[in-house]
Symmetry: C2
Subunit: 399 residues, 2 copies
């Protein structure tokens, strides 16, 4: 069968990443080569932009603009955090019919896959020919089916570089340092900090992910042991650490429209843990905390090259897939080679496979005590980050 | 006169920077070419290492190690925060005599210049031939006499990149965002965030430096105006902002050995300002804060090339100066050309000129309302940061 003629629409959703615009530009590039797609509309702020018919014409943007946008962090079309109701999906589908939208590309997390899936079902029910493709992105790396998510590699790189630098900072002026890393439910990004440990005594000395229960007693005991051994301690903590019944270790109490407690955009957890250490291990200890915050998802200038390349490829391939056959789905990555020869290819899986649920950091990567990440995780994460700077220390020959 | 024969000693002091080891390696490189210097000792943790005679032999380190150390943030020899007494300086001087130290290089801020100056005076009183050189470093950029300080350009680059990324993040998911920047007394680093504003509506929309009095009333009024105009606001705040009588706007109350209130290594100021906005401008506003923290001084992988080059040059030239004539002093930078042809040369000024006092951000760069930095500051700061990524936005052609 020949591809259906009509317009295409693209939107971006959820928290930004450093490479989400690579996928967007990948789609634009490929649409330029595709005669059956007449125009490509950009939805401003995702589904909200579709509902408001706030659409822009992406085919008029110059190649210079596109290349600049591609290396720019965060959603160039604007993003949105919105759970779409079935009624809104129906409204969106009507707008698609009105504008003769025959191709829909949606870049986002599992909520976006779900939205795409409902719209796709509506089209099928109405026998309106529509190709729907979800292009994954998330620094949390928690989507099902795919080897990893575009956006994770760059965030992992940022976190690793931050810990590498902080390791040297802490060696030079010893003390206790807590660094809070993003990741509400999944510990992938916090686990990436393990890559900063080049020599056995390098930071991070302790790593806490939300996949394990956090207890203050074990934490204090762990910190004291590192302190006794090294006279310093750098600690990697996920913002999502929680007690036995799932309650956050500390929160500001603010709740967003999804009912999620606010974890990011505040230094409260780090400061709470600093206070905990001082009050229990010694008032005079030099304890500091940094919360890496939004820089993890939007810091330009040290993005992973692999991640950029793959995010662009995901966008390009989504368009190619949408022309080849009568299918819809999520673009996923499958690793075909690892290590120095690392290579990933894209594949398509049904939209509903990524919708709704997410995954956690696999248990095999977490040590028994729940305070460290095993070395095996490096095999998984290092190829995603690109080359790290070759820093070093003096041997320190005695006089 | 021919240079005196003997050993040399080098130490590092104060807060880390990303290029402090470039200066260190610059000295080591140059000493290798200098027959009159027999050996070069590294003091582990600055003056503390001299007092404890904890010295290492730097001439045995391999060139590979040296090149790795050069690109490594933070003090590779270990640093120290210690005000040295006159008695300790006398003790240090005795250790110099014992080890036949004839060349002393000290990398640090104004306290280090002061220590170097006292040791130099002791040597002169005893007619012990000693060349003493201070090599400046500080991300605060607050040393007198010099055009700028090694370490500032890289920290300024980090802060600018962080605001560039956060501008796009905040455009994509609008809200109010407060970013707290290091700089207890001097606003240079906070002012550098101005370089992220490429288009007039780009972040930061408000900038508060410690050179002006901060009032909550003006702050709230400023934020409301930006919010009315743009529907979002990204705010750059120095950690050192204070009220009319110099009291910090918010502090944890912790005081260090110098009597300085703890400002870094906590998210408390940012969280306090977030609360202030919510309580006064609307509980439902999406307000977030990030405190950039130690990453500003030790994040590897996006260091300013100009800064690296100049820090290395400062180290090399310190050794050259110490051989040429019977003088001592601080290595300073003088700008001989600006803009695209930017060039700095090093000069020597007497140690006491940089000791004791520091400087503030010049009034000419701060706007009348005290909530922004003037465009003129870009002429000063941009050449120090190296090239910034060429990010971009869609034109946004309407359908």
């Amino acid at each position: 069968m020949s591809p259906v003629k009509g317009n295409a629409l693209i939107g971006q959703s959820g928290g930004p990443t450093c490479v989400i615009n690579q996928s967007l530009v990948g789609v634009i590039e490929e649409v330029h080569k595709t005669p059956s797609i007449e125009n490509l509309y950009g939805a401003v702020h995702g589904v909200q932009g579709i509902l408001n018919e706030n659409l822009i014409d992406l085919m008029k943007e110059s190649w210079d603009t596109l290349e600049r946008v591609a290396i720019t962090p965060s959603a160039a079309l604007g993003s949105v955090r919105k759970k779409v109701t079935r009624e809104e999906c129906e409204q969106i589908f009507k707008i698609f019919q009105k504008h003769n939208i025959r191709y829909f590309y949606y870049i986002g997390g599992n909520d976006s896959a779900e939205t795409a899936n409902i719209i796709n079902e509506l089209a099928q029910e109405s026998k309106f020919e529509l190709r729907v493709f979800h292009i994954p992105k998330t620094i949390d790396n928690d989507l099902l089916e795919t080897d990893h998510c575009p956006g994770y590699g760059s965030a992992a790189r940022f976190v690793t570089l931050a810990f590498m630098g902080d390791n040297y900072d802490n060696r030079s002026l010893p003390g206790i340092k807590i660094n809070v890393v993003m990741g509400r439910h999944a510990g992938f990004l916090t686990a990436a900090s393990r890559a900063a440990r080049i020599d056995p005594d390098d930071a991070p000395h302790l790593i806490y992910v939300p996949e394990r229960v956090f207890t203050k007693e074990q934490f204090l005991d762990d910190v004291q042991k590192v302190l006794d051994r090294l006279g310093r301690a750098v600690i990697s903590v996920s913002e999502g650490i929680h007690g036995p019944s799932g309650e956050p270790v500390f929160s500001t109490g603010e709740v967003d429209s999804h009912g999620n407690v606010q974890l990011s955009g505040t230094g409260a957890l780090g400061d709470f843990l600093s206070g905990l250490i001082k009050n229990n291990l010694g008032k005079k200890l030099r304890v500091r905390s940094d919360t890496f915050g939004y820089l993890q998802r939007s810091f330009p200038g040290c993005v992973s090259e692999v991640d950029s390349y793959e995010a662009r490829m995901a966008g390009r391939n989504a368009v190619r897939y949408s022309l080849q056959e009568d299918w819809d789905g999520s673009v996923i990555f499958r690793r075909t080679a690892n290590g120095k020869d690392y290579k990933c290819v894209t594949e398509i899986v049904p939209l509903k496979k990524l919708a709704k649920n997410t995954k956690s950091l696999e248990d095999q990567y977490i040590n028994l005590a729940g305070n460290d990440i095993k070395e095996e995780y490096l095999d998984y994460v290092l190829p995603l980050m690109g080359e790290l700077p070759k820093t070093g220390k003096f041997v320190g020959y005695k006089l």
